[in-house]
Symmetry: C2
C-alpha cells in the first residue's frame, strides 16, 4: 500500500505482507499508460475520437458518432484460490459464485462511465485440460457465468478456454472477462463533468468482500488454526463467507437511466476501499454521515487482522460496493430505485467545496488526496 493511512499494530496484516506490492507495479503501469495514450491518434485518423478523460477512469470510451463505445478487460484475481481451497476441503463448489465475481469486475467498472453493457466475453485460462474434466466445477462456472449475464442483460458473446499448463498453476484457473457497451444517449456519459458541491453521495450495499482485499483474507486464513473452516460467528465459515458473489450493479444504473435520473459520477469501490471516493480529479470534500452495517466477513477480517478503522475502510469496502453522485433532489429517488432492484442503498453524504478529502464522520476517519494515487 503506497500510503498507509494510519499506524498499524505490529502483528497486523498489511497488503505488502500479503504479497501485493503496488509500488513495484506502478512505474511500469505508468509507462504502459503513456504508451497507450500515444496510440489514440490512430483511431482519430479513422474518424473516431477517444474521450481523453476516460483514460484515468475505469473504462475506455470512444466517440463513434451516434453513441460512445466503452470497453474493458478485467481479471478476477486470486479469489479463485479461495474457491479452490473450499472445494478441496469440503466438496462445496463456489465456481458459480466466482463466475459472477469475474463478470462483476468487468461490468461494475464499465457502468461507471454511463455505459449499458452489451457483450461479455469469457477468458478462462485453465492450468490444464484436466480442469474441465471435473464436470461439477466446470458446469457451475458456466451456470454462474450465464446467470450473471442474465442479471446484467448482456449477451455472452463467446470467449477463450485455453489449457495453459506451465503458465497457469495446475488445478486452478485464471478467470477474466472483457466487456463492451454503449453510452446511449450520449448524455449518459458520467465522467464527472457535472460533479459539483451539493451533489448527494448515494452508496449501494456490498455483499461481502467482493473481489478486493482477497490476498489479505487469504493471508489471514493461513494464520487461523481452522483456516477457511473457521466459524466467523454467524454460522458461516470464513471461506464460504468470502465467497459470497459480488453484487452486480448494472440493474441499478439501467433503472436510473430509464427513470431519467442523471448520474453525475460513479465509483466502483474496489481496491483502496473508501479512499476510492477520492477518485475524481476535482478538488472536493466528500463528507459521509451514514455508514452501513458491516458485513460479518469484513468485521471478522478487521478484528482478526487487527486493522483500525482507517486501515479497514481504506482497504475493504466495509459494506458499500458502489457510489453514485447525483443532484441532491434525486438522492432519495436514487436510493429508492436501487431498493426496487433488490439492492440496499442509502443517502450517505454530500460533496462539498473544500480540500480534496473523504471525511467519514461516524468513525472519525479522514483520507486526504495523498492517500490515493491512481494515476
Amino acid at each position: 500500500m503506497s500510503a498507509p493511512p494510519s499506524t498499524i499494530a505490529n502483528d497486523a496484516l498489511t497488503y505488502d505482507q500479503a504479497g501485493v506490492k503496488y509500488d513495484q507495479v506502478d512505474p511500469i503501469k505508468l509507462l504502459a499508460q503513456q504508451s497507450a495514450k500515444a496510440t489514440a491518434a490512430h483511431v482519430a485518423a479513422r474518424g473516431f475520437n477517444e474521450i481523453v478523460a476516460s483514460r484515468g477512469e475505469s473504462a475506455y470510451v470512444l466517440d463513434i458518432g451516434h453513441s460512445y463505445l466503452a470497453s474493458i478487460v478485467e481479471c478476477l484475481g486470486t479469489k479463485v484460490l479461495v474457491a479452490d481451497a473450499v472445494y478441496r476441503d469440503t466438496g462445496k463448489s463456489f465456481y458459480a459464485a466466482i463466475a459472477q465475481d469475474t463478470i462483476a469486475m468487468a461490468v461494475n467498472d464499465l457502468i461507471t462511465v454511463g455505459a449499458t453493457p452489451l457483450v461479455v466475453q469469457a477468458y478462462w485460462a485453465a492450468g490444464g485440460s484436466d480442469w474441465f474434466n471435473d464436470r461439477k466445477r466446470a458446469e457451475d462456472l458456466i451456470a454462474g457465468w450465464k446467470a450473471a449475464c442474465d442479471v446484467c442483460g448482456v449477451s455472452w458473446g463467446g470467449g477463450e478456454t485455453p489449457a495453459l499448463a506451465g503458465v497457469v498453476e495446475s488445478d486452478t484457473i485464471d478467470l477474466g472477462a472483457s466487456c463492451v457497451g454503449l453510452v446511449q444517449p450520449k448524455s449518459r456519459l458520467s465522467l464527472g463533468d457535472n460533479l459539483a458541491p451539493g451533489n448527494a453521495i448515494v452508496l449501494l450495499a456490498s455483499s461481502g468482500i467482493h473481489a478486493n482485499g482477497v490476498s489479505l483474507a487469504r493471508k489471514l486464513a493461513e494464520r487461523l488454526p481452522n483456516g477457511y473452516q473457521t466459524d466467523i460467528g454467524n454460522k458461516q465459515t470464513f471461506g464460504e463467507a468470502l465467497l459470497a458473489p459480488t453484487t452486480l450493479y448494472v440493474p441499478v444504473t439501467e433503472a436510473l437511466a430509464k427513470a431519467g435520473v442523471a448520474v453525475n459520477y460513479t465509483v466502483n469501490i474496489t481496491g483502496h476501499g473508501w479512499r476510492k471516493l477520492l477518485r475524481h480529479t476535482s478538488e472536493f470534500t466528500y463528507r459521509i454521515k451514514e455508514i452501513p452495517s458491516v458485513p460479518a466477513v469484513l468485521s471478522f477480517i478487521q478484528h482478526e487482522a487487527k486493522l483500525d478503522n482507517a486501515e479497514a475502510y481504506g482497504t475493504l469496502n466495509m459494506g458499500a460496493g458502489f457510489a453514485l453522485f447525483v443532484d441532491a433532489k434525486d438522492a432519495e429517488k436514487t436510493a429508492h430505485i436501487a431498493h426496487q432492484c433488490g439492492i440496499e442503498a442509502w443517502v450517505a453524504g454530500a460533496v462539498e467545496t473544500g480540500a480534496k478529502q473523504v471525511i467519514i464522520e461516524p468513525i472519525g476517519v479522514t483520507y486526504s488526496a495523498d492517500d490515493l494515487k491512481l494515476r
Copy 2:
C-alpha cells in the same frame, strides 16, 4: 487432435502427446456455447440484435444500427514459455515479439468478420509483482504492444496488469488481449453469405509458427539435445525462429476496404492448420494449386517431429497465415494490395462445387469435412 488426418510414425509427436486434449475440453465448450447463445435475448430486448451466424465464427457481432459491433478476447497461450526459456538461456528478450503475437491473436480474428479494429485492451496476469521488476522484459512487452497497435491503427485503451501469485506460475505471465471494432459500412460484414463457387482463394504469408502448434514445438525442444539452442540450418536457433512475431493482417483488410475490394469470407489459419479452410458451414470444395515455400522453422518441426504432409498441413500454417475469399475478378488485385502492405500473397486456388473438402494438389493431400469439427 480429434481426427488425425493420416497414420503417423510411432515416434512422431502428436498434439495429444503434447498435452493438448481437444476432446476433453469440447463437451464443456459445447455447454458454454449453448448457454452463451441463450443470452442473446437480453440485448434483443434492448434493441440490439446479434448476428446469429457470427456465433460459430471468430468474433462476435452485434447490430448496433448504423454499424456492426465486433468483439473478442484472445489468449497468447504457451508461447510465452518459449520466450521465457530463451530469455533464461541467452538473455535475449523476445517479449516485444510475444506482445505482437498476443495482439495478433485478437485482431487477426476480429478482422475475419469484416471489422476495423478500434480498441485493444491488455490482459497481463503476472505470476507475481516481481515479473514487472525486470525492467527489460517489462519495457519490451510495452514497446511491442504499442508497436503492434501502431501497425494495426488501433487505440490501446487500457487493461489489467494483476500480480497473481498462486494462479499464474511464478516468473511467467499469462498474456491476453481483448479487441473491439466496427463493421462500417455494414456491407463489409464477411460472414460468408457471398462465398460461392468460382471465388478465388488468396493466401497471405505467415512469418513462422505464429502462436499455434507451439505446444508441439515445446515438446520437440525437450527432445532435442540442444533444445531451443538447436541451429535449424539457417543460422537461427530453434527458439529464436519460433519467436518470430505473428504477422498482423489488419493493414491488408483495411487497404482492401479502401480499394473497394469486397471480401466474401476470410479464415485466420491458426489451430488445425489448413483444415481451417473448411471453416465455413457451406458445402464446397476448396482446391489449392499453389502453396508457399515453407518457413524454415516449420520445415524443421515437420522433419524433426516426423510429420507427414497431411499431419503437418493439418496442424501448422506451413507458410500461409490468412486466407481471403474474393470474387475471381478481384484475385490479382487482392494479392497486389497485400504486397503493397509488405505481406507476401498469392492466388492459391479456388472454391468449387462439390463435396466439402480441401484439396492441396501440390502435395496430394485432401481433408474432408470430418477432419475439422469446430462447432
